[in-house]
Amino acid sequence: MRTGAQILWECLIGEGVKHVFGYPGGAILPAYDALCGYPEIHHVLVRHEQGATHMADGYARAGGGVGVAMATSGPGATNMVTGIATAMMDSSPIVCITGQVGSKFLGTDAFQETDITGITLPITKHNYLVKRAEDVAPTLRAAFQLARSGRPGPVLVDITKDAQQSSCEFDRSAYIPMALTEGKQNFDADQYATAIDMINASERPVILAGHGVLLSNAMDELREFAERASIPIAMTLLGIGGFPASHPLNLGMMGMHGEAWVNHAIQEADLLLAFGMRFDDRVTGTLKTYAPHAKKIHVEIDPAEINKNVRVDIALLGDVRQVLTRLIPDLAREDRQRWLHYIDELKGDSAVRDIQKLPDSGHLYAAHVIHDLWRETNGNSIVVTDVGQHQMWEAQYYKHEQPRSLITSGGLGTMGFALPAAIGAKFARPEAEIWVIAGDGGFQMTMAELATAAQEELDLNIAVINNGYLGMVRQWQEFFYDRRYSATPLLSPDFAKLAEAFGLLGITARSRNQVAPAIREARQRRGTALINFMVEQEDSVFPMVPSGAALHQMIRRPSPLVETAASEA
């Protein structure tokens, strides 16, 4: 006989779980009590349950497994909501386990009762309320399977206190995780033949590579596909890392803050090959003028994404890797010289406006910080970003060569994501160097997790890009609201001193020549180090497609910036 609480831990062990990110409380106490009997599980005590969900998410994104977060009922469970929604939007497989009041008290507004299955219904793939010890094991098996299968995502399992306390038969040795279910596929020969004809006949094709490439481990297939047919690849924010940045066919990030040549290539393409991406409004600009000359082929595992935002000519449903594997043999070898040469010409024009070309004028630009960080780490670090301007600069200036090396909240754009997600990532990839890049605003949303990093003695590096503003919102106010900086100037603590208060290393860098030494010092230090980069306050992210504008109607990097900086130098 086993209690429901014991069964819970034995199932997690059966699923291969080694780390659980959580926070105890009354309704989950029986589970925490039973935890003492399972030393093979390492429980990480977070400082806020939102942190637990982001850690589970970061763990899943960095390592490719399922992340597990745990919380008590009521406020513990509701604190998880932001992290669950973040994982849902970015298809990250996490399992959240919450305690619930005893089944007899359900529906009575008992102390710390909240309808968390009701609350999380639209932001989970599915959720379960477990009221009997007998249901714990089958529910957890189904939860893990569902989180990983098809398009991954969060699943919540709410377990009443009495289900944790009561006992039933359970054979731990017989526990085996359920096999993944195959998603819906259509390997329709005609569709494939048409797709191949369209690709082989195209003169100006562009591949749009999304998160699905990483989730299906299709990196090699993507590369083979692109090289064989000489098709350039534009990346979504979450697709970054799915194809090496240094590869000549990699155009870089597309969309609102994509470089001009990327967006122009998409607008002028005669064929778009969308691989595991969902035509989010941040990558399409207005749909009315989106890629008007292009036929579209959508390779996607989730049928509900087909024709949702952009009507496509052919949909190849299924795992990106499997679909590409089927397509590659029939792909004609082409060099597409004219098209690639044309894109190169577009590039030349943009490159002169690049902030990287600015001489050191004594001003510290965030772009410089990220560029130097990329150089110092040889592009080999995992970078976990928060949300805002620094996130876009990271995507523009840190060149990612490896899959799963950029972890960022794309779909929900959750400020406060970076630090906890990085903690989770560190548990999944303990050998990897990890850098947090956060803004002064977002970092303050979850900086309490510095205590978690300290308690766990983690080796993390944190770069706070401190511009004294909620910078991305300030930028919109500058461009679209007549520079009325309503509620965006931001007072912050001395982040270096703050780190010291947690027993961590804190460094402040104010000029470009201090950047590399600070990065080196942080890297040498065992344990977590934080660098407070005091950067130019009113810098903006360019290019920018204003929301509602066409993808090719970008606000470009102002050339005067180059002149100003040059005259100052």
Binding site: H126, T139, L146, S149, D302, I306
Partner: protein, 188 residues
């Protein structure tokens, strides 16, 4: 344009909530939704009438399939099918107009459920058009109370939309494999 979907779901608490929540958050406009038991144990069947065009219909279906408790979805809008709706209407019918009301009842093959001194309760089944006409027929006498069930539908011919033993052709994980449910043991 309205389209009719037949949706088989596991008969779990909260399934209706999950389905209606999906329609709400995706902004699909439900014209009517009926749900009830089927002859299959622990499987319920919904008839959902949605205001959506033909392009949007596959998305409704794909989104429904993302709910693990949805077992089968069939868009019967372009399939020959039978549509029925039930109405119960309480009509003001004093003695002097009662014969006229009764003529309307007969014309529509409706039934009288209750005869009170000043009113009649009438029940009718039929397609929405027929029900609409019946209502217009009795409206001049004064409708005191009325309730309609919304559409229930079934395809014509002998092939069932979803049969025991049929493997549901769905994209989402087969939740019912988890073993703790007796749901669909007959069908999986």
């Amino acid at each position: 344009m309205v389209r009719t979907f037949i949706v088989y779901v596991a008969d779990h608490p909260g399934v209706l909530n999950r389905v209606s929540s999906l329609f709400r958050r995706r902004g699909y406009n439900i014209e009517s939704l009926t749900v009830g038991h089927t002859h299959l144990p622990e499987i319920s069947r919904m008839t959902v009438v949605v205001a959506i065009d033909a392009q949007g219909a596959p998305l409704v279906e794909a989104n429904l399939y993302k709910l693990p408790e949805v077992l089968h979805v069939h868009d019967i809008s372009s399939v020959p099918s039978l549509h029925r709706e039930l109405v119960i209407v309480k009509v003001a019918a004093s003695q002097d107009v009662r014969p006229e009301v009764m003529r309307v009842v007969e014309a529509f093959r409706a039934r009288v459920l209750e005869v009170a001194t000043e009113s009649l309760v009438i029940e009718a089944t039929g397609s929405e058009d027929v029900i609409d006409s019946l209502i217009e027929g009795v409206r001049p006498y004064g409708i005191l109370e009325m309730t309609r069930t919304g559409r229930v539908a079934m395809t014509r011919g002998s092939a069932p939309v979803f049969a025991p033993g049929q493997v549901p052709p769905k994209g989402a994980a087969p939740f019912w494999n988890s073993g703790h449910l007796t749901v669909l043991r007959n069908c999986s």
